[in-house]
């Protein structure tokens, strides 16, 4: 796997040999797609794997933190604020922080991506939890549910729409962000984009990377939407799921 340095600055020989620009250099080239299908597939698979790992890692950290913030209200401010600070740090800077210690490995890309997704996941999960009606909570307590049982069997299921909004936002933005991973040498489709640019501005390769990236984001978004529908059968009759407010609010307020 060539690093950014070899792929970009010194131009690895195999990159030149395998995808030399077509003479006409148009934005769409079937010949390029045909001749490089396995390279493209490898990039796509790497992209999916990096994105999935990052989102799963972020979810594993974000869910407990959101529950903590929900249970202990005084912690809400600090938890959201620290996730906000992490979100403010530019992604490239996070790459710069971890790469000298972790080396040019996939995990070097996964950790910054996960950090970046934290805020969206925590905030939307919390929104989902807070929206659980007080009467429902009261009823649960009246039926003798303990704190944990109430969380697992009542509050979290009812918060699924909120969790899902966060998950969709985080997934879509992580798919786009994964491209930056070319810097430590694991950028999935980003590698096609950058190699195309450095390889005499080979337009077909750049566009292939871009289109696949956007398509992947939309596909994963729809997949999550479908899974969410399946997981919340009670919302299906109404036109809009309870917690799926416009992602605008989640995204715009830092």
């Amino acid at each position: 796997m060539p690093s950014y340095a070899t792929a970009g600055l010194a131009r690895s020989a195999d990159a030149l040999a395998q995808s030399s620009p077509a003479p006409d250099n148009s934005w769409v080239s079937w010949r390029y797609l045909e001749n490089n299908s396995d390279r493209i597939l490898t990039a796509l698979v790497e992209h999916i794997s990096l994105t999935t790992q990052a989102v799963l890692l972020a979810t594993a950290i974000a869910l407990p933190l959101a529950v903590l913030a929900y249970w202990f209200r005084p912690l809400t401010g600090p938890i959201l604020a620290s996730a906000g600070v992490l979100y403010t740090v530019p992604a490239l800077a996070v790459f710069a922080f971890v790469t000298p210690y972790l080396g040019l490995r996939p995990i070097t890309v996964v950790i910054p991506l996960a950090i970046y997704a934290l805020l969206m996941l925590i905030r939307n999960t919390l929104t989902g939890l807070v929206q659980v009606p007080e009467e429902v909570r009261d009823a649960a307590r009246g039926m003798g549910y303990g704190r944990l049982a109430q969380l697992l069997r009542i509050e979290l299921p009812l918060a699924i729409p909120g969790i899902l909004t966060g998950l969709r936002l985080a997934t879509v933005s992580t798919v786009a962000m994964t491209t930056i991973g070319v810097l430590p040498g694991h950028g999935g489709l980003g590698r096609l984009i950058i190699e195309g640019f450095r390889n005499n501005f080979f337009k077909a390769e750049i566009l292939t990377g871009t289109v696949l990236c956007v398509a992947l984001a939309l596909a994963l978004d729809l997949l999550l939407l479908g899974l969410g529908r399946l997981a919340t059968p009670w919302t299906r009759s109404s036109a809009r799921p309870v917690g799926s407010r416009s992602p605008e609010t989640a995204e715009m307020v830092p």
Partner: protein, 236 residues
């Protein structure tokens, strides 16, 4: 691998790394110039559109769809594709590529800012004989200012962070320092990579803090508490 943190401190303490051509000060200047250009261009496009849509009270869904769509577009794609179109190579292409990502927060806050004006206030203004344009200029816009300001802050911080990616197309900015470090390899360049990361992160924090402070100082006192409460309520 030798200790990258020590290397980074040494690198940052070398005055030549600051003043050389292509040193930290040069890169900082480029970074701020590119950021200012992208934010200005974003405001120029997003504010009139957002304010107009808010005034007419439609297009809210289109704004949400647009901002979700831009979320799916990699910055690397606009950075690499734009120079190959009629825009041509150079700073304008980088600025346009980054401005695209500044538009959604600016657009959404401009729209909400005008939309959130109390309908009774709007009714009263219309009852006093204000025309549509006067209503917009004298009532809706002044009341939307806190929203415009918070959108500006979000967009500016985001752009300052994203400008670092210009390094991928050799477009300048502080990201170049990190890129050059990667070019040297991890063993010799590790310190420089880390130092570049510190600089970029510090700049983002400074811009965020500075704009937050400016926003607070410039907001008239009676409006201050209202907006803050609204922001915390929205962020939960």
């Amino acid at each position: 691998m030798s200790d990258p943190l020590r290397q980074a401190v040494i690198w940052l303490n070398d005055p030549l790394n600051w003043t050389n051509p292509g040193g930290i000060l040069d890169r900082l200047g480029e970074h701020l110039l590119l950021s200012a250009g992208a934010v200005a261009l974003g405001c120029l496009v997003a504010w009139p559109v957002g304010i107009w849509l808010g005034h007419r009270g439609r297009g809210g869904h289109a704004i949400v769809i647009f901002s979700n769509l831009t979320l799916a577009i990699p910055v690397l794609a606009t950075l690499t594709i734009l120079p190959l179109t009629f825009v041509g190579f150079g700073r304008p292409a980088v600025i346009v590529a980054l401005a695209i990502f500044a538009v959604p927060p600016l657009l959404a806050t401009a729209y909400t800012g005008v939309r959130q004006v109390d309908p009774e206030v709007r009714d009263a203004a219309a009852g006093m004989g204000l025309s549509g344009g006067q209503l917009l200029r004298r009532v809706e816009l002044p009341l939307a200012v806190p929203y415009l300001a918070s959108g500006f802050r979000t967009a500016a911080v985001q752009v300052v962070a994203t400008v670092t990616l210009a390094v991928f197309v050799n477009g300048g900015g502080l990201g170049q320092i990190i890129g050059a470090g990667f070019g040297l390899g991890l063993v010799t360049g590790g310190g420089q990579i880390l130092a570049g990361g510190f600089l970029v992160a510090a700049l983002a924090m400074l811009v965020e803090g500075g704009l937050a402070l400016a926003e607070r100082v410039l907001t008239p006192k009676p409006l201050r508490r209202r907006v803050r409460r609204r922001v915390t309520a929205a962020s939960i």
